[in-house]
């Protein structure tokens, strides 16, 4: 393939200002993304990092077209998806999956795990009937290291780490080309976090997935990502392979982010160093 899986040019996104109270007329808009250029190669994991308000989640959501950009263009697998409407996006949805931060609110509490994973398969006509969907759901569970018997359980019966595995199983069940993972380990304990990171790394290789991994935790990003994109106030400050970016940050802001991470080792000068 000659073109990158995602090709983003001069992307501008504005959203209504949540703090403004307007009785009449249009709500004032805030510019969230201000001219993003980005290419994502197939089979890579790209980390999006930045502080809250930097636009990393907005960028992720715009890539999978939950948000329509104001200006610029997004090409996915050679197709211009910048302004496609919902109907036109639908056939692409199976290729553009998402994993969310809080699996408990992302999983329907009234459906069994089997239904949660199997339903999209029927909707996308990837499974002929419920039985076929159930079987594929069980395969997806197996792939994420959960017992297939979990298909009969409900989300509240699982632990946080298990729920996040279900979230991943649901996303990969449609055999997508692209997965957006937004802060998927930040709500987890370190041991579950380590398991989920290992799982994502394995799935990337086994399924040749392209992943955009949004995280505020640079240590986690260092683990998993091939490239890192540093965002601040809606602009890309740095976009480089992970190793060089960490070893030798070009932008002072990247260096500042890195210096602010508390490593698990005693360092009495750390707190007072700026």
């Amino acid at each position: 393939m000659s073109e990158a899986l995602f090709k983003v040019e001069n992307l501008h996104v504005s959203l209504p200002d949540p703090n403004s109270k307007v009785l009449f007329g249009a709500t004032p808009m805030i510019d969230i993304l201000k001219g993003i250029d980005l290419e994502i190669e197939e089979g890579t994991v790209v980390g999006l990092v930045g502080e809250s308000g930097s636009g990393k989640s907005t960028l992720g959501r715009t890539l999978v077209r939950l948000i329509e950009p104001v200006r610029g263009s997004i090409r996915f697998a050679g197709k211009d998806i910048t302004h496609l409407d919902e109907d036109a996006m639908r056939p692409l949805r199976r290729d553009l999956q998402m994993i969310f931060q809080d699996p408990l609110s992302a999983l329907n509490p009234r459906q069994t795990i089997g239904t949660i994973i199997g339903r999209p398969l029927i909707l996308h006509k990837l499974a002929a009937d419920r039985r076929a969907a159930r079987k594929q759901a069980e395969e997806a569970l197996d792939l994420v290291g959960l017992p297939t018997a979990f298909a009969g359980r409900y989300p509240h019966e699982l632990s946080g780490g298990q729920r996040q595995r279900v979230g991943i199983a649901r996303a990969i069940a449609t055999h997508p080309r692209f997965v957006l993972a937004d802060e998927v380990v930040s709500g987890l304990d370190v041991s579950s976090q380590a398991q989920i990171l290992t799982l994502l790394a394995r799935l990337k290789t086994e399924l040749k997935l392209t992943i955009v991994f949004i995280s505020h935790d640079l240590s986690v990003v260092r683990r998993l990502c091939d490239r890192v994109v540093v965002l601040r106030r809606g602009e890309v400050l740095e976009n480089r392979p992970t190793g060089p970016l960490f070893d030798n940050p070009e932008h002072p802001y990247t260096a500042e982010l890195k210096a602010a991470i508390p490593l698990p080792e005693v360092d009495e000068g750390w707190l007072d160093a700026s």
Partner: protein, 309 residues
């Protein structure tokens, strides 16, 4: 006043042999003979994964345990005064006068429909009996201490008008307002960006040193522990599995669970080191250790064995 004298260990907070259980099933303990001590001027980390009982300990200190659970054994002393032996009114007063909390989520901890001023001065007027004027002056000084440049404006603001970092500064100021002897900081930086987290950690450490407070720092982040704590208590399943100084914790963790926890923490400076989840065998062994301790505890308290011995 006895509340101002330290306990026998020299610590301000003394938790000894504390067991908490469901009222419906007193044999099922949520905290298992926990011992925890924090001296004036000390920062002690309380570490554990979710469900380990960190919050339960905090709730015991502030006497806000849910109704379904109760202390079945042990003591909690503040400055030598046994909280559990005091009648409720006196207990509440002692806690209010000597202890304060820095909560995790500053937005839910602040009342959205009241200005910052009353939320800081309340405890000064209510607990210390200060006049409104004196309390306001004290609030201004405190906001300056937490490096807020325009304290007048912040006092007149509502919580939603401040950024996350600013709100956390306000809560730190409020926590130190009545000069408490003990502060419990419950995951105070978990919701913050790394750069803001560092500023807030520095601020908490600075305030704690200036005021000589005993600080119990509850967190799941070993990185944060390494940077701010002198001593650490590690909890697993409601039981203390390790109690050590911070250097010892990282240099030679005594309990396999602690070692596994350190191994599961990702570090950007060691990307080639494979990240190991806490092994199932360590979890199982620790659970077995707890079960054995539980069995011994139940046997020791059974009237039958007591009579036989």
């Amino acid at each position: 006043m006895s509340a101002d004298t330290a306990g026998t260990t020299g610590a301000y907070l003394d938790i000894d042999d504390l067991s908490i259980a469901l009222r419906a099933d007193p044999g099922h303990r949520l905290l298992r003979s926990v011992g925890l001590h924090v001296k004036p001027g000390e920062v002690r980390g309380l570490v554990g994964e979710s469900g380990a009982g960190k919050t339960m300990i905090g709730k015991t200190i502030f006497d806000i345990l849910p109704r379904a659970v109760a202390v079945v054994e042990g003591s909690v002393r503040l400055g030598g005064e046994d909280l559990l032996a005091l009648p409720e009114g006196k207990r509440r007063k002692l806690i209010a006068r000597t202890s304060a909390l820095i909560p995790q989520d500053p937005l839910t901890a602040l009342n959205p429909v009241r200005r910052i001023e009353s939320q800081i001065t309340d405890r000064l007027t209510a607990i210390l009996g200060q006049s409104k004027k004196a309390a306001r002056d004290r609030a201004l000084t405190l906001l300056e201490e937490v490096h807020i440049n325009d304290p007048e404006r912040v006092l007149a603001s509502y919580p939603h008008q401040l950024s996350g970092g600013m709100r956390q500064r306000v809560l730190i100021a409020a926590a130190f307002a009545a000069e408490p002897k003990l502060i419990v900081a419950d995951e105070p930086t978990t919701a913050l960006d790394v750069t803001v987290q560092k500023q807030i950690l520095r601020l908490i450490a600075e305030m704690q040193r200036r005021h000589g407070t005993a600080l119990l720092f509850v967190t799941h982040d070993l990185g944060v522990v390494a940077k701010i704590c002198q001593n650490v208590t590690v909890l697993f399943g409601g039981k203390v599995v390790e109690d050590t100084d911070v250097k010892g914790l990282f240099a030679h963790p005594a309990h396999p669970y602690t070692a596994a926890l350190i191994g599961a923490t990702p570090r950007y400076d060691r990307p080639e080191e494979s990240l190991l989840p806490v092994p199932a065998s360590v979890i199982e062994d620790t659970h077995r250790e707890i079960a054995a301790a539980d069995a011994a505890w139940i046997v020791a308290r059974s009237p039958h064995t007591k009579g036989a011995a």
